[in-house]
């Protein structure tokens, strides 16, 4: 009898291991650490490179960093890692901007600047801050077709939700200032995106809002924030942080969802029944998958979806937002048709899930984890990950 029990145990053990192995999908594509760069920082620039924009032209590659410390921006030559220009914008006068929080680089002679929380005024300038021009925007609410919640306030312009220039329009994202833990605010009239027509100076709401399945319920606030990118066909791709899928706005006007989750995520997210205490919010945020950024790689025609992976919440550690920084970071790779073709988990204690960008050489990840062993206030190190087939060198 003892032998039978032992055999049953061994068989059960073997099969349970096999079952675990079957869940581990293998992919033909991966990201490999290929190169790195270091950008030296001057006394007016903090290491917090989380609002950056990449630009390439015939003369090279550039990184434009929104420098909150000087209410302006820095332009770096990525090939030499040198600072090309540093622009501190005036806070008073005809071209003033009180708090620059984002920008769009059309080319080095045309950079749009946006101020925090207010889009009534946009400034156009060049990479040296010369030849400024002011654009005064107008709402199209006189048409009566804008929903009640549409307004210029609450807009965001960041690396994860960039303001995209396409054709004659700028496409803005909005993170509302309302109470995200009020179910009635998570409704179908919410406008997450709007566009500005450079010819008519008018703002118009777009039809992207909270996913239907999330509406009328209470969620962890981070799940409701979105990231976006645009591909070579002019299709917009939206990624809500709590969704295991991305949403693509196809050229025919339809939206379609494509699954783009980390393989370790076995379950979807759940809504709350009621408002919950802050520590529970923190615990749930730390212990869940949060998809922070979607990027299109135009050089290789693929997409990268950055994810913060769950970490077991330690109640004995300080109970504050910095607990998120300890979360492991990964990336899901999608092909041009939004099929998942790869998944990568990056090294621990090196990266945070913000500030990544795509350049000619690959995916650039800033080493901004507080535990990064070579951290310096006077330098930002980037790892450059190259897309390749598994087995390639």
């Amino acid at each position: 009898m003892k032998n039978i029990a032992l055999i049953a145990f061994v068989i059960g053990f073997v099969f349970s291991c096999q079952s675990g192995t079957e869940n581990q999908r293998t992919y033909g594509t991966t990201l490999s650490l290929d190169d790195s760069i270091s950008i030296e920082l001057d006394s007016l620039t903090s290491f917090e490179f989380i609002n950056v924009y990449y630009h390439e032209n015939d003369s090279g590659e550039f990184l434009i960093h929104v420098n909150f410390l000087i209410n302006g921006f820095n332009v770096y030559d990525l090939n030499s890692s040198r600072l090309l220009s540093q622009v501190s914008w005036p806070k008073s006068g005809p071209f003033s901007m009180s708090q620059i929080n984002g920008l769009t680089v059309v080319n080095l002679d045309s950079i749009f600047l946006y101020t925090r929380g207010d889009l009534r005024k946009i400034v156009l300038t060049d990479y040296k801050g010369d030849d400024p021009e002011v654009l005064i925007t107008k709402s199209n609410t006189e048409k009566g077709d804008a929903p009640d919640s549409f307004s210029f306030s609450g807009h965001t312009s960041s690396t994860r939700a960039p303001t995209i220039a396409l054709g004659n329009r700028l496409y803005f994202s909005k993170y509302s200032n309302f109470d995200y833990y009020q179910a009635s605010n998570i409704n179908d009239s919410y406008v997450a995106e709007f566009s500005y027509d450079l010819k008519t100076n008018k703002m118009e709401p777009l039809t992207i809002g909270f996913p239907k399945w999330m509406q009328g319920k209470i969620w962890h606030m981070y799940y409701l924030l979105h990231s976006k990118t645009v591909n070579n066909k002019g299709e917009f791709i939206y990624s809500f942080s709590g969704e295991d899928s991305i949403r693509v706005s196809h050229k025919d006007g339809t939206y379609k969802a494509y699954q783009a989750k980390h393989d370790d995520q076995m379950e979807g997210i759940s809504p709350y029944g009621d408002r919950i205490p802050p520590e529970q919010v923190l615990k749930d945020g730390v212990e869940s998958f949060i998809y922070t950024q979607i990027m299109y790689d135009r050089y290789r025609n693929v997409y990268y979806r950055i994810v913060e992976k769950p970490l077991s919440y330690d109640p004995d550690k300080p109970k504050n937002y910095r607990a998120y920084y300890a979360k492991p970071v990964g990336c899901i790779i999608l092909d041009a048709a939004f099929n998942k073709i790869g998944e990568v988990d990056f090294a621990d204690d090196t990266y945070i899930s913000y500030g990544a960008f795509v350049g000619k050489k690959g995916l650039y990840l800033p080493r901004l984890d507080p535990k990064y062993k070579n951290f310096s206030e006077n330098r930002v190190d980037y790892s450059i990950y190259k897309l390749n087939m598994i087995g390639d060198k």
């Binding site: 903090s46 917090e48 909150f68 410390l69 209410n71 708090q99 620059i100 300080p318 504050n320």
Partner: protein, 143 residues
Amino acid sequence: MNLKNFWSFFLLIGLFSCGGSPYYKELSQLLKQHEKSIQDYEYIAVINVDACISCMDIVKKFLHENNSNPQLLTVLVSASSKKINLLVGSLSEEVILRDVKMESIYDFELVDMKPVIYSVYGTEVEQRVILLTDLLDGVFFYY
């Protein structure tokens, strides 16, 4: 009162009399490390400057307005010493404490995202979490 109850009572009295109110010990330790004393201030504002990196102006204005108020100590918490340098500028640092190691967050849990005002009454400390914009209104003095 039997002997066991007597010692329990004694222990409780001891704990309450030595510990002070919540946050008192943490604030005292933080300030002591920076060679300041909690008893010298009526208010201590702890501001996590990294929580809103585009809100520099609000904090800068708050520092300027209160730099000559000896009763208010402002603790600036940031991983970036450059950021604190730019905020402080040429202001007197008598009433400013630079917390670049972020001990207020990691070790003492005195602040998270929103600014916190501590009112000190002897060994009693009252905590109020406020909005960043409240710093400009000076509303915390009227509670």
